[in-house]
Every structure is written in structure tokens, then in C-alpha cells.
């Protein structure tokens, strides 16, 4: 049902909404991360200090080389080689002893922070209501949970520490260089701020190119996916070559965007290298003259190159770190947008467990307006289902039927004082308890990628086989079950055996029936089932639901006619109500529906009349064009 996407998370999420580009205004959002990092504050400080010490040790290496080279360059001096070589080995040892554990704890913090964020994210998301899910689609939420959290993890792991280390490294290197030659240091360091600024600007200039490339890829991917999903239609209409042409255009466009991004990257790389090459040239020229003037030793001359390399790598990465900071700030904002969202449906303080439930469901003057909707979806509905009754709701698409069912299980934020179970306002019943007593089977037949058995016993996995088989039988699923190679252990859902729409619908029905709830709500659960099977299921329903309350939505008269009472809903109001016979006698919408859905000759005249009425209200139907003729 849901496409399947590229199937691989971790990279970019296809179909995710356009992500906002990070900017400095977002940086404030990073403060929110503090609560996740604070508990590791001590470790963080210790780790950073460790990194600083290890880096300081690294700065001894050019110095060691300088000592050796100076001794070699001066013919008068005693060669001084062993100690510098051992110094370097000491530096190597220090990296293993200090750098490794320090880096390790810092990276563990980032993993732990991501872990904590994910945990909270999941818990927050699970308790949200329809407004939340309208605002954030599944793809959007996945993108926040996958890409944004990993972005945050990067910034915790590298970003902050990199900036601290950058400052520290530059100061340390400057100190060593100043000791050797202040004048040369000035000229060598002069271009470096430009390298940092330009590096940062170019890293950010990359965004549009990269985004265009990603967009072209997303277009290509969704084109391919759609094409393959609709391959039967395309082949049936003999449009293959047409589609190949369109694919050629899409993939050429992607190649072009890719090339442009690549070209930008190459040019950025060259410009950066050119800038960073100014400093070595300065050392070579000005440093060389200083050596010739005897103001600088050859060892120092050489060590300048060493320190320069150490600084340059830091300077180059600082631009990257900064741009990562702004992206991570935007990512943080996106994560907390979700985490801060207040749950719509919550237990009220006085919620308490009711005693045994009879199953009388009543809607008293119930009105509901979807947030942002111009007019109410439900407009003062009064209806009731007595304990043990079966009641059917009929009506056009969008008439508000589903909202009525959702209100009874608080899948929407049901207003207080409008829905009552056994005379008690359902808002005063704990949500868990309410949803145990009142079970709803939603319209969309969703199955998890898990064994059929787990899907059927989703609410209570420890149900016995007998109960399962009974529900399977009542839902008309027995034959399907017999066809599945591994029976109840067959994995179904997106990553399992494909079931037909009707089979999925019956599986979800079985999942509802198995709970033997006091009240069962069925939201159009027979739409993909043919009339004959429906009869069988209705028989099963009678068996399993006798004496219990059932409220169902249907579009078919053949389903509704069995109900104790039928309500026709239109525009959020009750249009007609009564038994099958009463409604037929009324001659309203229900009677029309009955006429349309049957083929009895006595109904033909009536159908023609209805169609004419419909034409009148929807404008003239065009005259029948002669078959095969084209229109000029």
C-alpha cells in the first residue's frame, strides 16, 4: 500500500518533504540538545581535555624533526637523531594511550544521545492523534527520526569538539611558530582566515547544487517506482516506448545536475587548494630568505611546513564544522517540533475504571469540527446503539460516518459530554480501558510485516490457537489460511506474502473480532469483499457478536438491511433513521440506494428518473458521441 520507497533507510528519504536549509538563526535550537548531553558533561570535559593533550603531543613531532634537522645542517654540531626519533615514537604511543580512549568516550556520548533522542521520539509519536499525523506524514517523521537524528549525532560527536580543538590547535601551533620566527609566522598565517571563510561560504554554496541533484534523483526514483507500479497499465495501453523516452529525459537531467554539483565541488576544491598553497609558497620564499640571512635555521624552516599542515587541516575542516552546526541546528529544530507537540487525546484526571460494561453507546448532540476545516464535520448528531444491538450507518463519502466511529474510541479528541458508554462520558474512561471495551476496525486494512498470527493477536499476543481459528472462520478467512504455505506463521504485510485487498480486509476484521469486545465498530470493512463472501461474513458476525453491540458503516443495502436500525448520515447530520423496511417506505436516500444497487426490473424506471435528476443538478450530460469518431 505504501510504496516501499527505495527500501533503504539511512541515506536520503525519498519523498520526504523539502528540508529547510540551516542558517545561523537556527543556532539557538542547539541549546535544546543540552539536556541530552548534560548528563555526560563530566565525560565530555574529560574526553575533550584528553583530545587536547593528544593534540599537543602531535605538535611535538615537527619540533622533534626540527631538532634533528638543525643538528644535521650545522656541520659543527653533534648529530642529534636518536632522541628526536624516540620522541616521535613517544607521540605515537601517546595517541594510543590518550587519543583512543578520549575519542572513544566522546563518540559514545553521541551514540548515547542519539539513542535517548530516538527513544523519546518513539514514545512521543506513539501517543499522538490525527492532527499530528496530518501535520507530519510518515515520510516526514521517518526523515526526522533517521536523517535529523543522525545529523544531531554528528554534531555532538564532531561538531562541538572540532571547534574547541580548532581554537586550541591554532593557539598551540601559533605558539610553536612564534617561538621560531614571529615575522614569518605573521605572513604564513595571514591567508588562513580567508581559507576558513571561503571554505565555509563554499560549503554552503554547495547546498543548492546538492539539493538540485537530490531532487533530480528523487524525481527519477519516483518516476521509476510509479512506472513499475503501473507497468500493467502502461503495457495494456502500449505506452512502453513513450515511457522509455520520458525516463531518458529524467535520467539525462539527473546526470546533468549531478555533473553540475560535481563541477562545483571540483572548483571549490581547487580554489581551496590554491588558497592553502599561498602559505607554503610564503615559507619557501620569505622563509628561504630568512635562512639565507641567517635569521632562521633550516630545521625551523622545515618545521614551519609541518606546523602549517597541522593548522591547514584544521582550518579547512572548520568551515565544514560550522556549516554542520547550522544544519544540525535546523535538524534539532525539526526534532523538537515533534517532541514538543502536545498529545491531543489525554486521560483526564478523574478518569476511572467503570464496572462491567453492558455496551450501550450513545451520541448526544455530538458535534465535531476538524481543526482548520471551514465547517463542522459532525453537526449535532443524536444516535444510540442499545446493548446487544447491531446498527448500520450509511451515507456518502465524506458525510462524517468515520468520524462518528473514531469519536467513540477517541481516535479524535472527542468533546466531553457528547459520547456515552453505558451512560458514562467516555472522556472519563481511561483510554486504554475504553479501547479494550470498544474495538474499532479501521477502513484501511493495514497489516504489519509479521506472521499472520501476530497480526491477528496484535493486542494480546498470548491468545490460543482456538480463539484465532474461530475469528478466522467468522471473518471468512479460512480458505485463504489454507492456501498460505506456512499457515498462521506466514509473514504478511509489506515485506511478506502479498494478500489481496479482500484478504487484507478480512484479516483486519478477524483482528477485531478476536477481541470479543463489548462494542465493535466496523468502518466499511466489506468494501473489497464480494457479495457472496459478505453473506458468509455476516453469518460469522452473527455467531460471534450475538448479544453484543455492533456499529458498522457500509455502502451496501445488502449489509445494512440486517441491522436492527439504520442511520443515513449526510453532511454531519442524521438524514434518515429506522429499520430497512421503514426506510424503504420513506422513499428517501436509502430507498434510492436500494434501487440503484438492485437490478430488478421494477427499479429500472426509478433509476432512469434518478439519473435525470442528477443530470439536472450537475449540468447537461454530453450527447453520446458516435463511436470511433474523433472530435475535430
Amino acid at each position: 500500500m505504501h510504496g516501499g520507497g527505495g527500501g533503504r533507510w539511512g541515506g536520503s528519504v525519498v519523498g520526504a518533504p523539502q528540508r529547510e536549509r540551516g542558517s545561523f538563526q537556527h543556532l539557538g535550537h542547539l541549546k535544546r540538545l543540552m539536556s541530552y548531553v548534560r548528563r555526560y558533561a563530566v565525560v565530555l570535559v574529560v574526553g575533550t581535555v584528553g583530545l587536547a593533550i593528544a593534540r599537543l603531543a602531535l605538535y611535538l613531532m615537527p619540533w622533534a624533526q626540527k631538532l634533528a634537522v638543525d643538528s644535521l645542517a650545522d656541520p659543527a654540531a653533534e648529530p642529534y637523531l636518536l632522541i628526536p626519533a624516540l620522541m616521535i615514537l613517544g607521540v605515537v604511543a601517546s595517541q594510543f594511550i590518550i587519543y583512543v580512549p578520549a575519542r572513544r568516550v566522546l563518540r559514545r556520548i553521541s551514540i548515547a544521545a542519539a539513542y535517548d533522542l530516538r527513544k523519546r521520539f518513539f514514545n512521543v509519536v506513539q501517543y499522538q492523534g490525527p492532527n499530528f499525523f496530518n501535520k507530519f506524514g510518515t515520510g516526514d517523521l521517518m526523515s526526522r527520526a533517521v536523517n535529523d537524528i543522525s545529523m544531531v549525532r554528528m554534531v555532538v560527536s564532531f561538531g562541538a569538539v572540532n571547534i574547541v580543538m580548532f581554537v586550541f590547535s591554532v593557539i598551540a601551533a601559533l605558539w610553536f611558530m612564534l617561538v621560531m620566527s614571529p615575522a614569518l609566522t605573521f605572513w604564513v598565517v595571514l591567508p588562513l582566515p580567508f581559507v576558513a571563510v571561503i571554505g565555509f561560504m563554499m560549503a554552503r554554496g554547495m547546498f543548492p547544487f546538492f539539493r538540485e541533484r537530490q531532487e533530480a534523483l528523487a524525481t527519477l526514483t519516483s518516476f521509476t517506482q510509479e512506472n513499475l507500479n503501473g507497468i500493467r497499465t502502461i503495457q495494456a495501453m502500449a505506452q512502453e516506448n513513450q515511457e522509455i523516452d520520458r525516463f531518458r529525459r529524467a535520467s539525462t537531467r539527473y546526470a546533468q545536475k549531478f555533473y553540475r554539483a560535481e563541477r562545483y565541488q571540483v572548483i571549490v576544491g581547487v580554489s581551496m587548494t590554491l588558497l592553502t598553497m599561498i602559505s607554503p609558497v610564503v615559507i619557501l620564499l620569505y622563509g628561504g630568505f630568512l635562512v639565507l640571512d641567517g635569521e632562521l635555521t633550516i630545521g625551523s624552516f622545515n618545521a614551519f611546513f609541518g606546523y602549517l599542515i597541522l593548522i591547514t587541516s584544521q582550518v579547512q575542516s572548520i568551515g565544514w564544522s560550522l556549516s554542520m552546526f547550522t544544519s544540525a541546528a535546523a535538524a534539532t529544530q525539526r526534532i523538537f517540533e515533534v517532541l514538543d507537540y502536545p498529545p491531543e487525546v489525554v486521560d483526564v484526571a478523574e478518569a476511572q475504571l467503570p464496572p462491567d460494561i453492558n455496551g450501550r453507546l450513545e451520541f448526544r448532540n455530538f458535534s465535531y469540527r476538524h481543526p482548520g476545516a471551514a465547517r463542522p464535520t459532525i453537526d449535532g448528531i443524536n444516535l444510540h446503539v442499545d446493548a446487544g444491538e447491531t446498527v448500520a450507518l450509511l451515507g456518502r463519502i465524506g458525510s462524517g460516518k468515520s468520524t462518528i466511529l473514531k469519536a467513540a474510541v477517541r481516535l479524535i479528541d472527542t468533546p466531553r459530554g457528547s459520547v456515552f458508554l453505558d451512560g458514562r462520558d467516555i472522556c472519563e474512561v481511561p483510554i486504554r480501558r475504553l479501547r479494550e471495551a470498544v474495538t474499532m476496525v479501521p477502513q484501511d486494512p493495514f497489516l504489519f510485516s509479521a506472521p499472520l498470527k501476530e497480526n491477528l493477536t496484535y493486542d494480546k499476543p498470548d491468545r490460543g490457537e482456538e480463539a484465532i481459528l474461530e475469528a478466522v472462520d467468522a471473518a471468512g478467512l479460512t480458505e485463504t489460511l489454507g492456501r498460505l504455505v506456512n499457515g498462521l506463521d506466514t509473514v504478511v504485510g509489506e515485506r511478506g506474502t502479498t494478500l489481496s485487498g479482500g484478504e487484507k480486509q478480512r484479516s483486519t476484521l478477524a483482528r477485531g473480532l478476536i477481541r470479543r469486545a463489548d462494542v465493535l465498530l466496523l468502518d466499511d470493512c466489506f468494501s473489497s469483499v464480494d457479495t457472496e463472501t459478505e453473506e458468509q461474513i455476516l453469518g460469522g458476525l452473527q455467531r460471534m457478536r450475538s448479544g453484543k453491540t455492533t456499529l458498522l458503516i457500509s455502502h451496501r443495502v445488502s449489509t445494512a438491511r440486517h441491522a436492527n436500525r439504520i442511520y443515513v448520515i449526510d453532511n454531519g447530520r442524521v438524514l434518515e433513521s429506522g429499520t430497512h423496511e421503514e426506510l424503504l417506505a420513506q422513499g428517501g436516500y436509502y430507498a434510492d440506494l436500494e434501487a440503484v444497487q438492485s437490478s430488478q426490473d421494477r427499479d429500472r424506471a426509478r433509476r432512469g428518473q434518478l439519473l435525470r435528476q442528477l443530470d439536472g443538478s450537475r449540468g447537461e450530460l454530453p450527447p453520446l458521441a458516435p463511436t470511433g469518431s474523433d472530435v475535430a
Binding site: I111, F446, F448, G502, K504, R556
Partner: protein, 659 residues
């Protein structure tokens, strides 16, 4: 339909290929696509080699030229191999009467800039050549997928096929560019080694002992990490899949009160992922440190041993400094190779998957000399002892014979598995079958090109597949032969015009793939318009089972009437009023013809059709009873318990539209 039914091993398509062995055949094949761009790619390779040579000269200036001849003059330097750089410096300084140092710096700057320019040209030509190669490969792959027959898509998950077009081709891009950029690092490796040997074989030998150590360590690390990285990836994707499913089924989760249980399950996956990540970083940090330490150790060796050589005047000080630079140039690629091997193996599996899809030998038999159809067909259809079985399974059609005259409408009814949808599949030639079974205007359909045939035989499936695009594009399917006027005319005829004009942008309204912005009834009308726009002489239609509200239902009935008017039609009907519109009714059961005749004839016959009719229109309880009784009596047709969708989703799997 089991997978074995076709006798092909489709599971190969689902298997996660991951190869550990090098397969040179794959590269050779890939080169076929690179062929048109061989000049670009060859230039790119040449540029990287020249660039590498230039980059090796730069340390010569820093060391032997500047240090040995200018800063600390040493006569020994000039006798050493230096590519004439010392001479060039002297010549330059004489020519412009500048100090030798300035001349050396000018040479250095010149080399730097030419190296950069070479690398820019190299990278741009490489990207251009590789991208074009892969665009062509992708196109060929897509074209081959486009022509795979229905039987292929019956068995293969679209998602799996799709990743070949997207991810797998991307992986090959990384392979192609990775290969060349690896060359960009290894060429200097050998140039540098050559230079070092020219100066001191002894010191070179000492220093290069590091390389095998680095290589072995890298290898061991990769082997150890492969498993760990795989576990990190697996735990991550398990985590994300769980979250995704939980979100998609959030209503079910909440209605089942599973929130806490799922939080526990997700928590377990989250902990597992954290554990794997913790394990992975232990290795990663150590390896990272090890890699940087190798250069340091080599430098320590150069200082201690090479310094001794300077003292003994075997090498110059400048050469010693040059060695320092070279050794970092040489050790860097060793780490990259390890990284490249990951890319290589991934790309090889990708290549395998791509070529598997291209090579997949499953195609429809096309006639060698297709019959040229006249401008307009009469529209007669005949099935002559038609029989058909999917490979390795029981026949789904047994000796079905009937003839429909031009303009006649035939309703096909029968229970699931009766073979109704097979009739559609065969008539549109979605499967191969024997000659002499099915005729259109007296011509064996096997002698007609499938594309030509499908233009004359319009197929309306139960599920209308909406492509994202405008309403107009969804009607015309971007077929240039279908003008805007024609598409609008078709929409008007099938009563779709009214609702289309009510959409925000009329015919230009963008539709989403899953069509959430259209009702099912509207989708059906669009399906009618789509087929009417191409004006087929013969129409094959699978009626949708879903029922809709009164108004829409009537409009659809009316549209169906207009659509079928004057066309030869075969309709798999679910509603009796549709059946009543047809001239004759064919009752199929388990692949055999049971009844054929008009409504009145079949009612009079009191057979299967009669039962069905009673079942649907008389008192339902009584009808169910009747059905049960009949079933016991005949042990025959199974009217109940299975929906038509179970298998007869005409051309494919269920659940395409729906939600």
C-alpha cells in the same frame, strides 16, 4: 500462484547478493557501456597520470633544490637525479637575473598550478564520462524492465526491481570514479617510490617495510569490521523499519493498546543498535589512530636511519626532507584501498543485480512478420478450444470456445479461480500461448504484434492506476496521438467532465500517485475516459467490486453504457445490472465453460447463473441457505468464501489502489 508455478527461480531476484570474489566479467561488461565515452574516460586517466608525475616533482623543489643548492649548498646534490630541476632553476635565475630562491619558488608555483589544472580537467572528464556511461546503462536497464512480460511482474516485488535502477546504478558510479581516483593515488605511489629508490635504496627499503604492515593491518581490520558494520547496518534498518511500520499502522497500534508493548520492542531494537554502534567505534577509533601513526613511525625511521646516512654523506639533507614528504604520499593510498574494497564488493553485487535484470530472459514471443491490421477492425473475437496453464500448475482454462460478433457484449461470470481474468490476459496477449486458440477478426492474435494488438484491445482493470501528473496526462498517458480535445471529449462522454471541472485546476489538477484526492467512483470514470480516448475496437473490462454511493453508482452505470456502446466487449461483471446490459453471459467454473446464453435462457435453465441471481437479489438469508444446499448437492462451484480479488485481480496483485 506459487513462485514455483512458472518454473523460474524468481527468488534469485529477491536474494541479497553480496559477493566476496572479484568477477572480472562484470567489469568487461561495464566497459561496453563506457565505450562511446572512451575518449573522455581515456583522457581522464591520462590526465591523472601526468598530474601524479607533476605532484611528485614538487617535493624535489622543496628538498634537493631549495635546501641542498640554495639554503645549505651541497655539491653532492647536483649529481643526483632531480629531473633537471636544479638546472632549470639556475637557467631561470640567470634569464631574469633573479635570486635562485625566487626562481625555485616560481618553478614551485608553476608546478602547483599545473598540477591543479590537470586534476580539475581529470575530475571533470571523469565525472562527465562516468555519468554518461551510467545514464546509458540505466536507460537500457529501464527499457528492458519496461518490456518484461506480465508473468515477470506477477512474481517479482517492484521495490526490489526499482532499487536496481536507482541504488545499484549509483553504486556503479562510485565504482567507476573510485577506480580512477584510486589510480590517481597509486600512480604517485609508484612515482614516489621510484624517486626514493633513485636516492637511497637502503633507506627506501627500511621505510617501505611499513607498507606491508599497513596493508596487513588494513586487511585484518576490514575483515573484522565487515561483520560489525553489517550488524550495525542491520540493527539500524531493523530499527527504522519498526518505526516506519508503527507509524503506518498507528491507528491499529493505538486501538489495540499496544503503545507500551511497542515501546518495549522498539527499545530493545534501539539498545541493540546502540550496542553494535559501541562495538564498531572501538575498532574504528583504533584503526584511525593506527593509520595516522604509520606515517609517524616512518618519519621516526627516516630521522634516525636517514639522519645517519646524511652524517655519512650518503644522502643530502634535502633528500632526507623529501623522503619525509614522499612517505606521507605513499601511506595515504594504503588506507584508501581498504575503503575501496568495500565499494568494490558492493558495486560488484550491484553490477550482478543490474545485469541479472537486463539478462533476465523472459519475454513475449513476437511474430516474426506481424500481420498488418486494417485501419479499423470489425471487432469479432473468437476463442477456439482455448486452454492455458501457468507453468507447473493445473490448467486455468480448458477448452473454452465461444465467438462474439462485432459490437456484441459478453458478460463473464464465475467464482474465483474460474479463469475469468485469464481470458482478459490472453486476449491482450500478456502471456504466451499456442497458436490457433484466439482470433480477432479471424486473425490469430499470435500473429499480431503485441503493441498493435493492445491498441485495438482496450483493457480496463479493476484498479485504476493513477500516475502523478495532471488529470489530462492521466487520461492521455502522454500519448502524443491523443490531443487535448480528444481527452476532454472522452471525459465528457463517460460523465467525468463534470467532476473534473469542479477540481481546483480542472484538467490541469495535479493528481498524487495513490490518488487520495479522487474518490473511487471518480477513479473509475477516469479509467473509462483513458480507455475511450484510445478508442479501441474491442473492450475488455474488469468491473470493480466496491460499491459507491447512489449518485456515483448511477453515473458509472451510465458511463459504462456509453463506453461499451457499439464496441465488442468482454466484461467480467460483478453487478447484476451490468450483466443485464450484456447480450450474452458466459459462466465459467474451474476453467471450463458451464453455461452460455442470454439472461432469460440461463434463468430458464435453472443452473449456476440462476443460483447466483437468486443469491444476490432475493432475501439474503434464504439465498445463503440456497447456496449452501446447492454446494452440498453438487460439491461444485464455490460461490462463497473467496472473493474475486483473491486471484482475479486481472493482471496482477491486489492492493494496488484501494486506500
Amino acid at each position: 500462484m506459487s513462485e514455483a508455478a512458472t518454473g523460474r527461480n524468481y527468488s534469485a531476484f529477491d536474494a541479497e547478493l553480496s559477493h566476496q570474489a572479484l568477477n572480472m566479467r562484470l567489469f568487461v561488461r561495464l566497459l561496453l557501456w563506457a565505450r562511446p565515452y572512451r575518449i573522455t574516460l581515456g583522457t581522464s586517466a591520462a590526465l591523472v597520470i601526468v598530474g601524479a608525475a607533476v605532484s611528485v616533482l614538487m617535493p624535489v623543489i622543496q628538498g634537493p633544490v631549495v635546501v641542498d643548492t640554495i639554503l645549505a649548498p651541497n655539491e653532492a646534490a647536483e649529481s643526483r637525479f632531480n629531473f633537471g630541476l636544479i638546472a632549470a632553476t639556475e637557467w631561470l635565475s640567470d634569464l631574469f637575473a633573479m635570486s635562485p630562491l625566487a626562481a625555485a619558488v616560481i618553478l614551485f608555483v608553476g608546478l602547483t598550478i599545473s598540477h591543479l589544472l590537470l586534476m580539475v580537467a581529470h575530475q571533470l572528464t571523469l565525472a562527465s564520462g562516468a555519468l554518461k556511461t551510467l545514464r546509458d546503462l540505466r536507460l537500457d536497464l529501464f527499457a528492458s524492465l519496461e518490456h518484461k512480460p506480465a508473468s515477470f511482474y506477477d512474481h517479482v516485488a517492484v521495490g526490489r526491481v526499482m532499487t536496481r535502477v536507482t541504488n545499484d546504478v549509483e553504486n556503479l558510479f562510485r565504482l567507476l570514479t573510485g577506480f580512477v581516483s584510486l589510480a590517481g593515488q597509486f600512480v604517485p605511489f609508484f612515482f614516489a617510490m621510484f624517486m626514493m629508490l633513485a636516492y637511497s635504496a637502503e633507506l627506501t627499503g627500511m621505510v617501505l617495510m611499513i607498507i606491508p604492515a599497513a596493508a596487513i593491518a588494513t586487511y585484518v581490520f576490514r575483515v573484522a569490521m565487515r561483520e560489525i558494520f553489517r550488524m550495525v547496518r542491520d540493527s539500524m534498518s531493523a530499527l527504522n523499519q519498526y518505526l516506519q511500520e508503527d507509524l503506518m499502522g498507528i491507528e491499529v497500534v493505538q486501538l489495540s493498546g499496544r503503545e507500551e508493548m511497542n515501546a518495549d520492542e522498539y527499545g530493545a531494537l534501539n539498545r541493540e543498535n546502540r550496542k553494535q554502534e559501541y562495538r564498531a567505534i572501538n575498532y574504528e577509533v583504533v584503526f584511525e589512530t593506527f593509520n595516522t601513526s604509520l606515517t609517524s613511525i616512518a618519519i621516526a625511521v627516516i630521522i634516525w636511519y636517514g639522519g645517519g646516512q646524511v652524517v655519512q654523506e650518503e644522502i643530502t639533507l634535502g633528500a632526507l626532507l623529501m623522503f619525509n614528504t614522499y612517505i606521507s604520499m605513499m601511506i595515504a593510498p594504503v588506507g584508501t584501498v581498504g575503503h575501496f574494497f568495500n565499494t568494490l564488493f558492493r558495486a560488484m553485487a550491484s553490477g550482478e543485480r543490474i545485469f541479472q535484470a537486463i539478462d533476465w530472459d523472459e519475454r513475449l514471443h513476437e511474430p516474426e512478420e506481424p500481420v498488418q491490421l486494417p485501419e479499423r477492425l470489425q471487432g469479432s473475437v473468437e476463442f477456439r478450444n482455448a486452454r492455458f496453464a501457468y507453468p507447473a500448475s493445473d490448467p486455468v482454462l480448458r477448452n473454452v470456445s465461444f465467438a462474439i460478433s462485432p459490437g456484441e457484449k459478453l458478460a463473464v461470470v464465475g467464482p474465483t479461480g474460474a479463469g475469468k481474468s485469464t481470458i482478459i490476459r490472453l486476449l491482450a496477449r500478456f502471456y504466451d500461448f499456442d497458436d490457433g486458440m484466439i482470433f480477432v477478426d479471424g486473425i490469430d492474435v499470435n500473429h499480431i504484434g503485441s503493441g498493435d494488438l493492445r491498441k485495438r484491445v482496450g483493457v480496463v482493470l479493476q484498479d485504476f492506476h493513477i500516475f502523478s501528473g495532471t488529470v489530462l496526462e492521466n487520461i492521455s498517458l502522454n500519448d502524443p496521438d491523443i490531443s487535448r480535445e480528444r481527452a476532454q471529449w472522452a471525459a465528457r462522454v463517460v460523465n467525468a467532465d463534470t467532476f473534473i471541472r469542479d477540481l481546483p485546476d480542472g484538467y490541469e489538477t495535479e493528481l498524487a500517485e495513490r490518488g487520495h484526492n479522487l474518490s473511487q467512483g471518480q477513479q473509475q470514470l477516469l479509467a473509462f475516459a483513458r480507455v475511450l480516448a484510445s478508442d479501441p475496437e474491442i473492450l475488455v473490462l474488469d468491473e470493480a467490486t466496491s460499491s459507491i454511493d447512489t449518485g456515483t453508482e448511477l453515473i458509472i452505470q451510465d458511463a459504462l453504457h456509453k463506453l461499451t456502446h457499439g464496441r465488442t466487449c468482454i466484461i467480467i461483471a460483478h453487478r447484476l445490472q451490468t450483466i443485464r446490459e450484456c447480450d450474452r453471459i458466459l459462466v465459467l467454473d474451474q476453467g471450463t465453460m458451464k453455461e452460455l446464453g442470454t439472461h432469460e435462457e440461463l434463468i430458464a435453465k435453472r443452473g449456476i447463473y440462476f443460483t447466483l441471481h437468486e443469491l444476490q437479489f432475493q432475501d439474503s438469508v434464504g439465498a445463503a441457505e440456497l447456496a449452501r444446499r446447492k454446494r452440498r448437492e453438487e460439491d461444485g462451484p464455490r460461490w462463497v468464501e473467496r472473493t474475486d480479488e483473491d486471484e482475479d485481480d486481472v493482471l496482477g496483485r491486489g492492493g494496488v489502489g484501494g486506500g
